[in-house]
């Protein structure tokens, strides 16, 4: 038994670990149904706008942002669930941007997704056996039922669920939210992929269950040598499990750094805002008084300048007219802010 690598040359290309997954100038626009005017140009929402980053093998790369910032679109585009408008994506050196359906199908044996909603992402009328086995059936991995059922049992055990016949015949509504998310993870891992895109895998679960799922994911990462791309709106969650964190605002990355650096020394005013918005563990009646009004905008015509400038307490003329570049401030701590003017320099 066991699953062969998806491509014959798959194992030989891994070696350059700097380019495990690389995204260059990725852009995803969604057309709006209504035109400005009847004869006007079609309008677009800039969901992901000129995003570049790279993920090294074995790391957990986190993207933090509020809803509407484009983080889910980014994850879905990386999985080819959305077609990118422009830019390129390289997976282990292969340019997967223009992969066709067939090529993507074989690539999905190496890249899988864990979804946010453990209630909506499992088909309620199918049994757990059928749900978990679906990927191996799509890819015609086994030619007999016995091997398939053994593999399903193995996966259920891996995620900490019982694997007896009774469990296999249950349906999703007989499980709690945490157990459902485990089933979702078992389904994602059954093809033995190496790269997992997890879109808010615990945000719909109770705090007491979250920690369980996160430690399961950490254990699986070690045991199976996985690389994670982890989307979350909770900075605390990202800090606890990610090696590197990117903060996204209105379709763009505003700050990218190692987890400890970004939490202890946030440079971008938006990152600071997100960290200030976390309720402290010791009650503080003044908490939240410094949080300014305003919400994440989306743009059909992006305004000139920094996207955050209308909400930023540091904003000046330059911020309103010119888009800041993402620059290396110090040792791989990247930030896109005019008030961080060069390596190691911050304008007050």
């Amino acid at each position: 038994m066991g699953i062969a690598p998806a491509t014959d040359d798959g194992s030989t290309k891994v070696q350059d670990q700097h380019a495990y997954f690389k995204v260059n100038n990725l852009r995803k626009l969604f057309p709006l149904n209504k035109r400005g005017q009847f004869w006007g140009k079609r309008q677009y929402i800039h969901a992901v706008d000129d995003v570049s980053f790279e993920i090294k093998k074995g790391m957990t790369y986190g993207v933090v942002g509020e809803s509407g910032c484009g983080k889910t679109t980014l994850a879905r585009t990386m999985m080819h669930l959305e077609e990118p408008t422009s830019g390129e994506m390289l997976f282990k050196g292969d340019d997967i941007t223009k992969f066709n359906r067939k090529q993507m199908t074989s690539l999905r044996r190496q890249m899988q997704m864990v979804f946010q909603d453990p209630y909506g992402s499992l088909n309620p009328v199918r049994t757990i056996h059928n749900i978990v086995a679906e990927p191996v059936r799509v890819h015609s991995i086994f030619d007999n039922k016995r091997d398939e059922i053994d593999k399903v049992r193995e996966m259920l055990e891996v995620v900490g669920l019982p694997s007896d016949n009774q469990t296999l015949e249950k349906r999703p509504n007989e499980f709690s939210g945490g157990e459902r998310q485990r089933i979702g993870i078992a389904r994602s891992l059954i093809l033995e992929p190496e790269f997992i895109v997890a879109d808010e895998p615990v945000s719909m679960l109770d705090a007491s269950v979250r920690a369980d799922i996160i430690s399961l994911m950490r254990r699986l990462k070690q045991e199976r040598d996985l690389t994670y791309f982890f989307i979350t709106h909770e900075f605390g969650m990202a800090r606890a499990i990610c090696d590197r964190i990117a903060v996204m605002y209105a379709g763009r990355l505003v700050e990218v750094a190692n987890a400890a650096a970004i939490v202890d020394h946030p440079l971008h005013p938006y990152t600071q805002l997100l960290i200030d918005a976390i309720p402290p563990l010791i009650p503080d009646e003044n908490w939240g008084k410094t949080i300014p009004e305003g919400e994440v905008p989306y743009f059909t015509v992006p305004p000139p300048g920094c996207r955050f400038n209308p909400r930023c307490y540091k904003a000046d003329e330059l911020c309103r007219s010119e888009m800041p570049e993402l620059i290396d401030y110090r040792n791989g701590h990247y930030v896109s802010c005019h008030h961080v003017s060069g390596p190691g320099q911050i304008k007050k």
């Binding site: 809803s67 920690a211 918005a277 009650p283 949080i291 919400e295």
Partner: protein, 321 residues
């Protein structure tokens, strides 16, 4: 006399398998101007308590207990009379702002309707009042003509707050008012709610599964587990010296962003089945310090210090000795 006194409230939901004892002997008091937070995992009965106070239980009934609002016994009132209490004296901010607002009416007309159903006033007065309420919740008053879908999630939740305040209630129940919102918006709405509560001297019942949010918003905290109160006391005490093992575990499952490498702990196991709850302490199957007696005998909610209540046999024994 407290503003609101809930004694031994018991609410059941009816299912084919038998009644689900969602709230099972809940007692607490609320003073004028006081804010009280109710915390617990999903299914612990916190929303059931809120819905029982509003007499909005669906698929079940309040089967026992007493709810006194001043001299009024809310559970004994006829529904027609109770409708005057609902909204005029106790109002509700619900979790899903999109579902609670009617998508085909402007937000102004919905606020006006709430005002005119309960109070005698002209249309013009009601519209003026609607604009006043919107500016009170920091929404531009010109938005009265907008439909719910034209507002952001944060603004819709503010409109819900405005509606809850429309008839000058004494008590506002906020059921997970910020849970569906983004982190930054959550702080803005929470801050607004705290400021309004202080300024209008409202009594607030704030329900949330996020203990850290309650810590900032409430004077007093109630921890519920499997339909019962396990601990209750002043917020600072609950955070600094949690007594019940469940409270301790709940605090341990919070994430501390600034503690390097610290990882929150989970609470192994699951809440019990409320159709046939455990005989003794309901937390016993998940408790790490429990003893044999906890399995068979239910602990009472004991006042260990003035205003501080805990339902744990271990603790009560330690105090008695």
């Amino acid at each position: 006399m407290p503003l609101l006194e809930v004694t031994d409230l018991r609410t059941h939901y009816y299912t084919e398998a038998g009644p689900v004892k969602a709230a099972d002997g809940v007692s607490f008091t609320l003073e004028k101007g006081e804010s009280i937070g109710i915390a617990g995992e999903s299914g612990c009965g916190k929303t059931t308590v809120a819905m029982s106070l509003m007499r909005l239980i669906k698929g079940g009934a309040v089967v026992g207990g007493k709810i006194m609002l001043g001299d009024l016994s809310l559970l004994d009132m006829e529904m027609d009379e109770f409708r005057k209490v609902r909204w005029e004296r106790i109002s509700l901010i619900s979790q899903a702002a999109m579902g609670a607002l009617n998508p085909v009416y402007t937000i102004g007309s919905q606020i006006v309707e709430a005002i005119r159903t309960h109070q005698q006033c002209s249309k013009k007065e009601a519209w003026d009042r609607a604009r006043g309420l919107l500016s009170q919740v920091k929404v531009d008053p010109s938005r009265v003509k907008n439909f719910p879908h034209e507002l952001s999630g944060g603004m819709r939740q503010r409109v819900m707050i405005a509606m809850a305040l429309a008839c000058d209630p004494d008590i506002v129940i906020a059921d997970e008012p910020t849970t569906a919102l983004d982190v930054v918006t959550q702080v803005q709405v929470l801050r607004l709610l705290i400021d309004l509560q202080k300024r209008l001297d409202l009594a607030l019942i704030y329900i949330s599964h996020e203990l850290s949010v309650l810590g900032q918003a409430c004077d007093k905290i109630i921890i519920m587990y499997a339909g019962k109160i396990v601990e209750m006391g002043p917020t600072a005490k609950i955070f600094s010296e949690p007594k019940h093992p469940y409270t301790q575990k709940l605090l341990g499952s919070l994430m501390d962003i600034h503690a390097a490498g610290a990882f929150p702990e989970s609470i192994p196991g699951q809440p019990p089945d409320l159709i046939d709850p455990p005989k003794g302490c309901r937390f016993w199957p998940r408790c790490t310090t429990g003893e044999a007696i906890c399995e068979t005998e239910e602990p009472a909610l004991v006042e260990i210090e003035p205003g501080r209540f805990v339902a744990c046999r271990q603790l009560n024994k330690a105090i008695n000795e």
